[in-house]
Symmetry: C2
Subunit: 346 residues, 2 copies
DNA sequence: GCATTTTTGAGGCACGTTCCTCATTTTGCG
DNA sequence: CGCAAAATGAGGAACGTGCCTCAAAAATGC
């Protein structure tokens, strides 16, 4: 038996092809009774629309825009590459993906870009940015126009995006906490926490999750105040040096954000490489190398390739008003040690 | 600018549409020179074949067969469900998926089934089974017929499958090893290892990886001989009881295969629940529950949903002789703790 | 019951391929 | 050079759907 087509539906429902078409595409001018009859026929025959044929006929193409901050962060770079790759294979599905890097500190410029996109029109937008009122309003406007908006990596709870692609930062922090606690072993029960900036949602959430677990499961461990580096390697060197001087040796270091390379240098200079337990976030060339050489103990990561593909799939589904396969789109909080480090994606 | 079509290629190469078609579909009867000219035009214009249109025109549908053992194992069951789900959404892509459970102990019957499939014809086969000579020959015959064969979860290195969907068992064992070693802390440096059967490739490989790491990084820990349960809860109870009597308390238990429920019962009866570090494999309802309640410390898993989707994608690509997106199909060795336990997929 | 509006039918072209057939041209070979 | 074989061209039908128009039928309001 072959798959039923619109023609079969028309015959089964006793209506014409045009009417079936109107029903399928929710066009006006059909009586409720007729709609019901058609839907019933669809159900009876188990009709599934041939999306390939539909898209071919529509000869519709999609313009998806992905906005990433222009920070130097290796993670963002990895993500950009993954998106570029996913975009390349999305051509097959008639999707054009534009990648835009915006000035991370200028939220007004970003809002202007969003407004421009709203004017020009596009089929979907994915955005990785902190949530500010300006951005929230711009996004609301876009959504009002029917443009699907996906929050990337960093959630935008108040802008009500159509979807969030990323992991729960709090849970990620909790995971970092257990690993730190259990890996500490007989080391001094004192842990340093280093962040780029505690103004970022994710940093705050990660630290919260981390503290939750440390307090609950490892009450004997002292977790020091978060040190901020603002992305500067020299600032990192300075705060780490100061703390080591003031607090003596620490058993572990939790790196909330970037700065792995700088941390490696400071530790190596002081002959500490390999001694304290180091837990960080995100799998990048640097963290991969640090894991392989053994001084980085664990990384809590989200799969950039998965994020990229999921983003495009979700945007596409939203643009087509199709449902989303939740189980496929759910991102896992990955724990990566030296032993389960995935092969280099050449 | 729109995407170029076959017509554009024909014009650019100065040949007819028919010739372009012959080249694109590798049909005979075209001179090497002409083929080169067409390919050059394709390169120049950046033509990408519209797969949707191609499949529509071919009106080809695929019959994929997935063969799973009829073992009671929760993992196989989870996998079956994931496959069923993936199959449901594959209908859209004109793929019909048949799931067959075969008698795990009767390899001759399985070989017969494979031969039958070869006769009936199908577009692809995925198989989860140990490699025996009979099976190897049956698979070779299938491959000779041009039917793509994918090894599922358990690799078939000597049958030269077109693809292997699963993780490296040795690396999985190594990962289990590090976690065990580091989690042991101050517990007695003695670890029990329990398997279903040491005749299975995966069990052997996992144990090897585990030993590698224990020897290298935790030389002070004594790893006991592997105990075999042959899938029987009573056998498990017996061997565990015996060992505990002979060896005294152990600091950790590494469960190579299934039997989590039975282990939980034994431990709970002896008041040991939560004391030794327990590391197991695969995320199933049981292991999920054990993780949540805290007595199971870590699970090394491969994502069943990913396996299922990847299998179908790969089979499809192989059937179409299309290249595979390696980075998308690479399975990760997942480490799952209570803190990063993914939400129940309702 | 009539005019008006709403709903439905019939048909055709388009989308980008695949896969035919049949005629025509080009090539290679003796 | 002539002939058979190979290569190419031209064209058309099909795949399942979208989207358009025009006319016909049915429902609605008065």
């Amino acid at each position: 038996m072959n798959r039923p087509t619109v023609i079969d539906i028309a015959r089964e429902a006793g209506v014409s092809l045009a009417t079936v078409d109107r029903v399928l595409n929710a066009r006006p001018g059909v009586r409720a009774k007729t709609i019901a009859a058609v839907n019933e026929a669809i159900g009876r025959l188990g009709y599934v629309r041939d999306i390939a044929a539909a898209n071919l006929a529509r000869s519709r193409s999609y313009r998806m825009v992905v906005l990433l901050p222009d920070t130097e962060s290796q993670f963002v770079q990895t993500l950009e590459e993954a998106l570029r790759e996913a975009a390349a294979s999305a051509v097959t599905a008639r999707m054009g993906v534009e990648l835009i890097r915006f000035a991370a500190e200028d939220m007004h410029a970003l809002a202007a870009t969003l407004r421009r996109l709203a004017e020009e029109g596009c089929s979907g937008i994915a955005l990785m940015a902190p949530e500010t009122p300006v951005i929230r309003d711009a996004l609301r406007a876009l959504r009002g126009q029917g443009v699907p908006v996906v929050a990337l990596v960093s959630d935008l709870p108040n802008s009500e995006p159509d979807h969030y692609v990323g992991i729960d930062s709090r849970a990620a922090g909790r995971t970092a906490g257990v690993l730190m606690g259990r890996f500490l072993g007989a080391r001094p029960p004192k842990v340093m926490v280093i962040a780029n900036s505690m103004h970022l949602r994710e940093s705050i959430e990660r630290r919260r999750g981390f503290d939750e677990v440390m307090l609950r499961d490892f009450p004997g461990v002292e977790v020091l105040q978060t040190l901020e580096t603002h992305g500067s390697p020299t600032a990192l060197r300075q705060v780490v040096t100061e703390i080591l001087a003031a607090e003596g040796t620490v058993g572990g270091i939790y790196l909330l954000g970037s700065g792995l390379r700088a941390l490696g240098r400071v530790l190596s200079e002081r002959g500490l490489l390999g001694h304290p337990v180091i837990v960080g976030h995100e799998l990048t060339p640097h963290s991969r190398e640090a894991l392989a050489s053994g001084w980085l103990d664990a990384v809590i990561a989200q799969n950039a390739g998965h994020i990229a593909r999921s983003t495009l799939r979700v945007l596409r589904a939203k643009a087509d008003r199709l449902p989303i396969d939740e189980s496929q789109e759910r991102l896992r909080i990955e724990i990566i040690l030296r032993e389960n480090l995935p092969d280099q994606p050449l």
